[in-house]
Amino acid sequence: MVLTSTFTPRNFREQSERASHDATLRAVLDHATRYFMGKRGAALEAFADRDTHFARARSARLTALSRLPDLLEQLERSASAAGTKVHWAADAAEGRAIVTGIAKGCGAKVVVKGKSMVTEEIALNPALEATGAEVWETDLGEFIVQLAGEPPSHIIAPCIHKSRADVAALFREKLGLADLSDSASIPELTLLARRALREKFLAADLGVTGVNMAVAESGSVILVENEGNIRMSTTCPPVHVAVMSLEKVVATLEDAADLLRVLPRSATGQKMSSYVSVLTGPRRADELDGAREAHLVILDNGRSEVLADPVLREALLCFRCGACLNSCPVYQTIGGHAYGSVYSGPIGALLSSLLLPAEDTRDLPFGCTMCGACKKTCPLGIDHPNLMLRLRERVCAGKPHFIGAAHAFLASHPLAYRLAVGAARAVDPRLDLLPRLPGLPSGLASFVESRQPPGLKSSFSAQLRAGRKKQGGA
């Protein structure tokens, strides 16, 4: 994974602390995440046999992971048979080289893109621009963050952190629309973006998209969206490249259908997204539209290693519905950018920890209160808190956190524990000195500053004993 902004997961703690002070950001996030959760809740309420469907979706993903190497080979065979050119990319650099190679090969001057996290992951846009091509994000939200020069901040709602007025201001500046008012409606803004993008679609030489699912048995690529721009990116330009991370494969069209029943409901609260495209190979002789040349890039970028871990591989079940982000109180408070990498929220903290260098992601698994809202929300039953704990264990690797270690020692040595607490009680019963003890994290000072600690009192054991003695004596 490549970092696309000045934010980095290395500074996750500082970035989140800063974000949580940003009142405007919090208000926008609060509104947007409630909106998504509300729509989702209503859709799931009306979803008959919901648990059965969730179980089928989970089972489709489990099948995919347990048979991954076979399914990928099958996918290559069937996609090739349908006329798609299949490429394997071991890492981000290879992925970029393959796509820029295709762009150069077809002399691409204008590239249109459908929303895709995986191309963000490999930082494809700058590489394509370096070939001299113009690159246009065509999803409305992606288009907005592209104009703003920012990375997306949510898996399915890239500009969730922006208000309507932010967008109007951006369009005034970047699209030369000096008269646009801050109170322009969302349909108005959409229309303006659509006008700007329509020309790009018609001029495009190459369309690049991600993949929601790739079907091993048929060699099809499935794309799910609401704006129609992804379909246009695959049909207007003469050449289409679909980029997938390797876990996106599913065995059969039936498995894909099981996932499609759940994905839109969980993501946007829709029974079905407005557009679901199933692309099998390039345009055939008797067909009127579609790309003349179809490519599929299958990217590993660290995933085979994740698959080898019997616990952590569960993170690869994810089909990116984004629901765990919306349900996470931490995400609701800090937004996506604070995570400093492409994937944010609970699943993002997991994926980034697994795919990025360990020394850059030490803090990510700790930015979680273990409340379990994500686990409860995930339609595929991913147990994020458990995976977070596993990652914490990995980060500590024999060097436990200072506080944890001191506490662990004392707690398994009852006498030492009682002595330590007794000493503290004698010296500082209100715990006022606590924040000033050397070696303790500065967070403790903030903690005590904002919360009156209860103080150390005569212990429960002592009071119980005294009470019972009195009773016995009476």
């Binding site: 109180p329 209160t369 379990g372 500590c396 944890g404 506490h407 398994s412 009852p414 903690f447 209860p454």
Partner: protein
């Protein structure tokens, strides 16, 4: 019925009132309460900071302390959950694993336990108050606190807009991410206060400490008796007194 009381370290030294109220309620409901000596901590802190070896050492200690068969009752959802996690810390097939499974099978969170006693949920308690309940994510969705409180005569049970949303504590989280933690806490505190309650109630001591400590620091907690554990509410309702006193003096 004889039970062994497991007291969280936070309760032992900082919130003893909760433990004393739990004893009073359990005895009133006919239980003989043992408090095995030598208790320290369930190991949650070590476990959640990634120190599995430390957690295992503490689990072994707890296995010794609670070696006697019979129900173990704990007035904290998160510590109860930790005891139920012990089997995960040991190799299946080993003696310690078997002991951990056995212990996990007989530990109950206080409200769950009380709700399973004969006569539950209406034990005839009465308390005229508006009580705002923080459910606590640590109780894993259990509705035992709501059911117990609803059965108290005169008590109006109020729930905030997002009843299960985290209060922002998260142990080490609140020290490593103090500003984020405080934002969550402010959300929680204002949603609770918006209910205009007489009492703030939770079955989780750490959440209660977090929320009430914040309100107290900011002068928004009026009256020391306002923040109560469910055990303390039941104590008041059944015995008409707060055995052990209020959390805040």
């Amino acid at each position: 019925m004889r039970i062994q009381l497991m007291i969280p370290c936070l309760v032992e030294d900082c919130l003893p009132e909760i433990g004393l109220a739990a004893v009073s309620v359990l005895e009133r409901l006919g239980c003989a309460v043992d408090h095995p000596q030598g208790q320290t901590c369930c190991g949650q802190m070590a476990f959640k900071t990634g120190d599995v070896a430390g957690a295992r050492a503490q689990a072994l200690h707890s296995l010794e302390i609670f070696a006697d068969t019979g129900a173990v009752v704990c007035p904290s959802g998160s510590c109860t959950k930790m005891l139920r996690t012990y089997p995960q810390l040991f190799e299946p097939g080993t003696r310690d694993h078997a002991r951990a499974v056995e212990l996990a099978g007989r530990v109950s969170e206080f409200c769950e336990f009380v709700l399973a006693l004969p006569g539950a949920p209406d034990f005839g308690g009465e308390l005229k108050a508006r009580a705002a309940l923080h459910r606590s994510c640590q109780l894993d969705g259990s509705d035992a606190p709501q059911r117990l409180l609803s059965a108290v005569r005169g008590l109006t049970l109020l729930e905030p807009e997002r009843p299960e949303r985290c209060c922002g504590f998260g142990g080490l989280f609140s020290l490593q991410f103090p500003a984020v933690s405080e934002s969550l806490l402010e959300d929680k505190a204002s949603e609770l206060l918006a209910l205009d309650p007489d009492l703030l109630v939770s079955a989780e001591p750490s959440c209660l400490m977090n929320i009430s400590g914040y309100l107290s620091r900011n002068g928004r907690m009026t009256g020391p008796g306002r923040a109560l554990h469910v055990a303390q509410v039941l104590d008041l309702a059944l015995n008409g007194a707060l055995t052990g006193g209020a959390l805040w003096s």
